[in-house]
């Protein structure tokens, strides 16, 4: 497939090369359309968000009120902190103008006055690249007042995070932009009604925005034919772990996981068997290596396989991987990143980690597996935001699919009795 989001064109990150490749053509076209026509085009294309929830983008845009006296905002989510995810970084580095163009089209369609691109603080180097691109776009008149001679005016601002996974959660991200701790907000009200500073706001992922110019440029019909019919378009798949060629691959949605692993990423080092795969970043449900046949990188297929697309950050683990170590590390992450607002998540993630550490050391206790399941089940669905679910799912799926691995690490004899026997 021809690469659309990350084509291999030298210098594409500069505005001159980007323009010479037809860049900002889609934005010009959009300016000649009615805003609602633009939204409709995106809606019909079938584009679904690339940040994890796979929510239909066009539909999300229609939630923005048309009649309002308040300013409207876009937040572009570039917090990219889900373990196993490293795609947005490629966009900032190699095709930042595509992101800017997509954001501008979104701003026009929704009548937005300012778009904030929120980028994780660790990406300092990439923030500067993005800021340079934005400054160039301002200088060429693509951003600012009366853009390209039209009556449309809008601004784009980069907001730098400061190291918090939770700020990738949309309501937490908004609080962070407002200068607060990144605590998620209770919904409703939803961002389209009460977002940044209480004004209508839409939050879209960086990669999602990059699909918008393609749709406007080529039309929704063309776009909807790429990849899986119910989840179309190109998708940036980040593959890491035990593969020969880890990296970001732009592929059509619906590509089989086995094709990604063996054809694109060069298979597993030493031709080892695959024990497990996490298909879409560490919060998606883990899959067994022998369950991969037929599973494809699209929302419907992975749902049927008992997992989800998430951020398409595929983590491959070979047959020698210690899964107890993996799940303990994943749980440590969620414990560290829990914001602490909701009791089930604040306390539960710590308990999960503590118990999983026992399994890692081979000191699991009888009843621990059920206890883990019980804790995970009591976190899931009982918190303000999805971090609680994200902490529960890996543990639940690991127990469901690899219960034998847990049982192997249960110490059947209590340590004290063992010592007594030795004495």
């Amino acid at each position: 497939m021809q690469k659309l989001i990350l084509p291999n064109i030298p210098g594409l990150h500069t505005i001159d090369v980007y323009e010479s490749q037809g860049g900002y053509k889609a934005f010009r076209k959009a300016l000649g359309m009615k805003p609602e026509e633009v939204t409709d085009e995106v809606k019909k294309s079938g584009l679904r968000g690339r940040g994890g929830a796979c929510f239909p983008t066009g539909l999300k845009w229609t939630f923005m009120p048309k009649q309002t006296t308040k300013p409207k905002y876009i937040c572009v989510n570039g917090d990219e902190s889900e373990p196993g995810t490293f795609k947005d970084r490629q966009i900032f580095e190699f095709n930042p103008h595509l992101l800017i163009e997509g954001t501008l089209i979104g701003a026009y369609a929704m009548g937005v006055t300012t778009s904030f691109i929120y980028v994780r603080g660790e990406y300092g180097k990439w923030i500067r690249l993005l800021e340079k691109a934005i400054a160039d776009a301002y200088a060429k008149g693509y951003i600012g007042t009366s853009i390209l001679g039209s009556t449309f005016s809008t601004n784009i601002v980069v907001h730098k995070g400061a190291g918090a996974y939770i700020c990738g959660e949309e309501s937490s991200l908004m609080n962070s932009i407002e200068g607060m701790r990144g605590y998620p907000r209770v919904r409703p009200p939803f961002p389209a009604q009460f977002g940044l500073w209480g004004c209508p706001t839409t939050i879209n992922n960086v990669e999602t925005m990059c699909n918008v110019p393609l749709i406007i440029d080529h039309g929704w019909e063309w776009y909807s034919k790429i990849g899986a019919p119910k989840h179309p378009g190109p998708i940036l798949v980040g593959i890491s772990g035990h593969v020969n060629k880890p990296g970001v691959y732009e592929l059509p949605t619906g590509v089989p996981l086995l094709e990604i692993i063996y054809k694109h990423a060069g298979g597993v080092p030493g031709d080892k068997k695959i024990k497990a795969v996490i298909p879409g970043g560490s919060s998606t449900m883990i899959m067994r290596g022998d369950q991969l046949e037929g599973a494809c990188m699209d929302a419907e297929s992975l749902k049927a396989a008992g997992s989800s697309v998430g951020t398409a950050g595929l983590i491959v683990m070979d047959e020698d991987t210690d899964l107890m170590k993996v799940i303990a590390r994943i749980s440590m992450f969620y414990y560290h990143e829990s914001c602490g607002q909701c009791t089930p998540c604040r306390e539960g993630t710590g308990w999960l980690w503590k118990i999983l550490k026992r399994f890692e050391k081979g000191e699991g206790r009888a009843g621990d597996v059920d206890l883990l399941m019980d804790i995970a089940n009591n976190i899931e669905g009982n918190t303000i935001c999805a971090l609680g679910d994200a902490a529960a799912w890996p543990v639940q799926s690991m127990i469901r699919r690899f219960r034998d691995e847990f049982e192997k690490r249960v110490k059947t004899v209590p340590p004290r009795m063992e010592q007594e026997a030795a004495a």
Binding site: P71, E80, S81, E82, P83, G84, T85, F86, D88, R89, T114, R120, G121, E122, Y123, G124, K125, N155, V157, H159, K160, G161, A162, G163, A164, Y165, S176, I177, E178, G179, M180, R181, G182, W197, G238, I239, S240, G241, H242, P246, G247, V248, I278, S282, G313, I315, M317, T321, K325, V326, R329, I330, F333, H336, E337, C339
Partner: protein, 156 residues
């Protein structure tokens, strides 16, 4: 507390946000860049500058892991140990770092030259294992590459 250049930048940034509170993160970043860390005094300064309570600024500083309320070593080494890096040998990298620098994770060397931190996923999963020194990412680490990075930093 802040340079003229940054104070000017703050005035410019105020035009992009409807409240001054929204500038808490940008201002704290500027302070940390200029002073290396964010002291209590500079938190009070930011609070005054932006007309927000001191407690609010303190709350923000302690919430975000990248803000330091105490001085750190000259070279801040952040090593990722999350799953993708772990699967590709980050434990070995941590072991080598601890041995070579004589400090453990979360510690600063006595001569204040090094601070070693264990961090969560930095978005380098495809080029794991990795570490960052300040904003600079070092990826696809091997023991040899690590030694080269450290000896280069020592000369600086």
């Amino acid at each position: 507390m802040l340079s003229e250049k940054n104070l000017h930048k703050i005035e410019e940034l105020k035009k992009s946000y409807p409240t001054s509170q929204a500038l808490v993160l940008p201002v704290l970043w500027m302070i940390q860049e200029e002073h290396g860390y964010i002291s209590e005094e500079s938190m009070k300064y930011s609070a005054q500058l932006l007309d927000v309570p001191f407690g609010h600024v303190l709350g923000v500083v302690t919430f975000y892991t990248m803000f330091h309320s105490k001085p750190i070593g000259k070279n801040h080494i952040e090593v990722c140990t999350n799953v993708s890096c772990m699967l590709r040998g980050s434990e070995k990298i941590v072991e080598l770092l601890e041995k070579r620098l004589g400090i453990g994770l979360g510690e600063t060397s006595k001569d204040k030259k090094w601070t070693l931190s264990e961090v969560e996923c930095m978005g380098s999963c495809g080029t794991a294992p990795m570490l960052a020194v300040g904003e600079e990412y070092h990826e696809n680490l091997t023991p040899e590459k690590l030694e080269k990075i450290l000896s280069d930093l020592e000369l600086k």
